[in-house]
């Protein structure tokens, strides 16, 4: 759907990281994303995961990366944004009683909405959250209300020193959901075979029209925006 959503709240929550609350949204599933027209001379939309939803209010957590997210960060409360909503398929539900949610950097936001949903289904969650450094950390306290949280920072300034892989040492991972940079996902999926990951790809449209985000999977090409962004670990093939 195309919707003009109004900015209900917009604040910085960590280094270069913003929490944006948009009002007027239809219901989203955890793992879905929206595609936002950012202000200024940016031709393409910018895709962001849903970090939480309550009624018609969605939360997006994003990091300023280039000029589009920079422009987005300057949007004020009360302004409206043109959004394509309810994009992609969400995470699948699971029969496991306990799962791991593994996130790196701005891959973490969608896991929050997922954790809440799993909780409702009485599934226990352990979160393993990786950041560069303490200044980048966000949402940790919120996650702690939902289950065990393990934090890993590359420089050791908060939690364990190292990547999420360090955080997973000594754990037995039955099933997991992971979102984060490709190198992290590649490493994870080479070790842990049963789970789902959400991928990012450069997008022309975000709703299946352009084939811009199409990746090879075990059986056939799939569009990250349409058949994804969540994929089963077993169907992934990584470019070498």
């Amino acid at each position: 759907m195309i919707k003009r959503l109004s900015v209900k709240n917009h604040e910085t929550i960590a280094k270069d990281t913003f929490a944006l609350v948009l009002k007027g949204a239809p219901p989203h599933k955890p793992g879905q994303f929206i595609n936002i027209t950012v202000p200024g001379e940016h031709f393409l939309r910018r895709p962001f995961s849903i970090a939480d939803q309550e009624d018609d209010e969605i939360l997006v957590i994003y990091k300023v990366f280039g000029s589009g997210t920079q422009a987005l960060s300057e949007v004020k409360i009360g302004e409206t944004l043109d959004c394509l909503t309810c994009l992609g398929n969400g995470f699948g539900m699971t029969k496991h009683k306990h799962v791991y949610l593994i996130g790196g950097g701005v891959g973490i936001p969608p896991l929050y909405y997922l954790a809440k949903a799993l909780k409702k289904h009485a599934i226990d969650v352990t979160m393993v959250l990786g950041f560069n450094t303490e200044a980048d950390c966000f949402l940790i306290e919120a996650f702690e209300t939902l289950g065990t949280v393990i934090v890993a920072t590359l420089d050791g300034s908060r939690g364990i020193q190292g990547t999420v892989l360090e955080g997973l040492k000594d754990h037995t991972v039955n099933y997991y959901y992971a979102v984060g940079p490709n190198p992290m996902l590649k490493a994870l999926t080479s070790i842990y075979k049963d789970g789902e990951v959400s991928l990012e790809e450069r997008m022309g449209c975000g709703f299946g029209a352009c084939m811009g985000c199409s990746i090879k999977t075990k059986h056939e090409p799939k569009r990250v925006c349409k058949e994804g962004p969540v994929f089963k670990v077993e169907e992934l093939v990584w470019k070498t």
């Binding site: 759907m1 031709f43 393409l44 450069r202 352009c210 811009g212 985000c213 199409s214 470019k239």
Partner: protein, 304 residues
């Protein structure tokens, strides 16, 4: 809506607005947004003889007022198109469509056309001899008169429907190529495919696209497209379908005044899925505000 009717070889369109090939699939991704039956026609995603994955990602780069793509003609191949896609198409779209035929060899174009001939809903073929994103064939056919003429003749020989030939703007003299395909029997010309371009990511110090080069589309290319439509209109007699950067009703009118009998909207669909819907609904009152009753009267008026 009667005033918006336009005629193309083998087809009567309720209005001149079509989505351009490769930016609309076969329409299935748009039915959540609007009833696509309002479209004059649909130019389908490229169809090749065999399934193609296309180029490795990243395939998309943003540029000022446009984008680069290096999809590389990803599609399921003609067999799947005939057996699985076209049979489902009438459920979402009831008018004739224009099938975009692509290939790396003349034999491939011919094979695709032969296989598609039996599909009733196809009103015409758009022969894409101008895709900049495949190494073999593709654009090579459109930059050389002899080759362009040769492919056109071969397609014409086996086709049971009109042949529209889609030309590349990456040439020294578009008129020469246009005349060559006209002489070879093309029923219409579609203009323009993408311009070749690139972006470099200053942080990684590498081209953004895995393919290095990509096709530039969107408003950035509109003046180039318009000039080619205008120029070709002066030099050929067959109809022209104009495209390149159309985003508004004004753009549609500019292309038709330059000489296009109908237009296609490509990249616009990607950033605004409702764009064709919006324009179709604004068009009649807009042309009337410019003093035109029937849209066909716009075609070529800028030539005086």
């Amino acid at each position: 809506m009667e005033n918006l009717k336009v005629t193309l070889p083998g087809m009567v369109l309720q209005n001149p607005i079509m989505p351009a090939s490769g930016t609309f699939g076969f329409g299935f991704d748009f039915v959540d947004y609007y009833d696509i039956n309002i479209l004059g026609s649909i130019m389908t995603k490229a169809i090749t003889q065999h399934p193609r994955y296309g180029n490795a990602v990243p395939r998309i780069a943003e540029v000022t007022s446009g984008m680069l793509n290096a999809i590389g003609l990803q599609n399921l191949g003609v067999e799947e198109a005939v057996n699985a896609i076209f049979p489902r198409l009438p459920s979402i779209y009831r008018h004739k469509v224009i099938a975009n035929v692509s290939g790396s060899t003349v034999e491939e174009y011919v094979a695709v056309i032969k296989a598609l001939n039996k599909v009733d809903q196809i009103g015409a073929y758009e022969i894409n001899i101008s895709c900049p994103n495949i190494k073999e064939g593709g654009m090579a056919f459109s930059v050389d008169e002899t080759m362009a003429s040769y492919v056109t003749k071969a397609c014409k020989a086996v086709s049971e429907k009109p042949i529209y030939v889609k030309l590349s703007p990456n040439v020294t003299d578009i008129v020469k190529i246009a005349k060559a395909v006209e002489a070879a029997g093309a029923d219409a010309i579609t203009l323009i495919n993408t311009l070749l371009g690139m972006r470099i990511d200053v942080k990684t110090r590498k081209p953004v696209l895995n393919n290095i080069y990509g096709g530039l589309s969107g408003p950035a290319i509109k003046p180039v497209a318009l000039k080619m439509v205008y120029q070709v209109y002066r030099n050929v007699s067959i109809p022209i379908i104009g495209m390149g950067g159309i985003m508004t009703k004004e753009d549609v009118v500019e292309f038709m005044m330059a000489g296009a009998s109908a237009v296609a909207i490509g990249t616009g669909n990607l950033v605004d899925p409702m764009i064709c819907h919006t324009i179709v609904h604004e068009l009649e009152s807009y042309i009337s505000s410019l003093g035109f009753e029937k849209i066909e009267a716009l075609v070529g008026v800028a030539h005086g």
